[in-house]
Symmetry: C2
Subunit: 382 residues, 2 copies
Amino acid sequence: MITLNELRKFQNLKREHRKYTNIDPLPRGGIIYPNARKALQEWGDGYSVCDFCTGRLDLIKNPPIFDFIHEILPKFLDVDVICITHGAREGIFAVMHSVCKSGDTIVIDSNAHYTTYVAAERTRSKIKEVPNSGYPEFKIKEEDYTKVIEEVKKETGKLPTLVLLTYPDGNYGNLSDAKKVAEISHEYNIPFLLNGAYAMGRMPISAKEIDCDFIIGSGHKSMASSGPIGILGMKKKCENVILEKSKYFKIKEIELLGCTSRGAGIITMMASFPHVVERIEHWKEEVKKARLFSGQLEKIGIKQLGEKPHNHDLMFFESQKLYDISKRHKQRGYFLYHELKKKGIVGIKPGLTKNFKLSTYLLTEKELKTVIDAFKDIIAKF
Amino acid sequence: MITLNELRKFQNLKREHRKYTNIDPLPRGGIIYPNARKALQEWGDGYSVCDFCTGRLDLIKNPPIFDFIHEILPKFLDVDVICITHGAREGIFAVMHSVCKSGDTIVIDSNAHYTTYVAAERTRSKIKEVPNSGYPEFKIKEEDYTKVIEEVKKETGKLPTLVLLTYPDGNYGNLSDAKKVAEISHEYNIPFLLNGAYAMGRMPISAKEIDCDFIIGSGHKSMASSGPIGILGMKKKCENVILEKSKYFKIKEIELLGCTSRGAGIITMMASFPHVVERIEHWKEEVKKARLFSGQLEKIGIKQLGEKPHNHDLMFFESQKLYDISKRHKQRGYFLYHELKKKGIVGIKPGLTKNFKLSTYLLTEKELKTVIDAFKDIIAKF
């Protein structure tokens, strides 16, 4: 028996973080725009987008999902075919599940997101990593893909079934030369999957120019969408592999189980999209902002790891100073979280001081200054 | 290049159906409650629920996801273990993918939702149907499961790997005796999956009483949640099969790719949940309402198919009269849709007259009367 008392906690779900400047890379690109928030009021009900369903999510004309998926998004990403997934990880799994058989090997960068590993495990595939360069830049050398592919061939007697690059990776924000990895994959005739969860919707990206066979994006991470929703783009020639139709229900795509993001995700992605198109035009300014931030933090002894000069808003920092403070502070490692919060800033995981990541994406000039000053003040105070 | 003109259609996404009484069974149980609509404003941003992530969605304490998944929902469904999926179909796939190997056979009821077939195809499993009784009741005879299981054994040399029942089915709203099917499955030592997408959140349900190994529900279909989100409940002994952890990331569950419904779905499900708990108490009244409605329509020659007396709000109707009208009406089959809309009612698919399904779930007395009168008026008018 569930008591009324037990239910009380669900009745008024307030989000504390809404009042703060949030520098966690995870939500920064997923903040929805006011008209998307309005759209949520209209379409918040379950299955609302299916009012005028004609058999499949992507074919719905009202709201304009068909146009969005089949005309606008392919243009936006310069790719042949788009389908909607529940998120980047679900897109990665869909590709792996369609392309790889149990026991196959997938070559990935060692900076890959954890879900890459888990998706491979779910398809019962093996993983072989292209190592990064280690401290302090942790870069992926594109030519190492050749080496690792050859190793797989030697060890298993056959080529890997899929090559994957994380672009940028979610730890250091490093952007490898994706085009070069595509070239290497194609020399071996292996399909190439680009995980652009932190790229698509933040920075300009052309699947054709990179020449990837598959490209993955995340709505809630980088396309100002209410989660969960993702995008999977592919070359025309890959369509039959991924979007094979059911033999029982001719219109339904097996790998997508018929329909995927039937709700708030697709509505907010569409509603936010005009802003997303606009914001990627300002990508160079975002990179400039990140470099300025990195430079300011380095001045007070907080070292940026990963590529330098940096090419993305997601940055990883190392600070012996903050770590030393934590050792003598009564709140120990939690002091940084609390000090920043006092200054209206959240997003660095409670407990971290020595290593942490953050993002400056879409921070206003004033917010950027507030964050820089906060770190300066904290270092000076202790 | 995307033009501003092309983007205009995404800027103000209005939902026409919000103004109408919607009798489409798909969204009726998914209408969110006012406090869930408010929660969407707070938590609409991508990854908002992950502000205080400690490594996995179901472990988050603020908002109270941990309590919801590990305390409240197991009580609500009388089941050992709960996990969150992207929807009922994704839950069905997760079970099939964990339990079945390529080439295995799954025994399902022939009234099963299309996604059951597609999920089986995605796992490369074969399907064997328990036939229904045909026109007009289309009932599944529970004892036929024995026959079909024996057939599979005879034909393939081994037992099916999974048994599934749709409870109720989404076409006729028939409720079979799930307990009996569970018994039959267990006689053969085959795990039993109950698809309760139209049950969980509408009517009282106890997984223990039915003795199913797995139970599936849909948030956007029947738990007043913004889509997509679903629930997968299971016996303790099945936990290791479904929720196996990654060898790379010890805390992450492979079949769920780490985390599932990281956003609007889980928030609205929690916010609506106190109302859901309350509404299932009134299930008997809902059944009474459905029977009253069915009786009134039968009086004007619109025949209810499926079980009679009916035990669920989802009903399938057959009307030769409306079909005859459509043949001489200038709007042809679309006349019914337009006539109902004039009376403030939507939800019967445009074009249908002879066969259609609808739901009376949570209609107020006044709305119910409006819908009954609408059908009476239309029949009388033509």
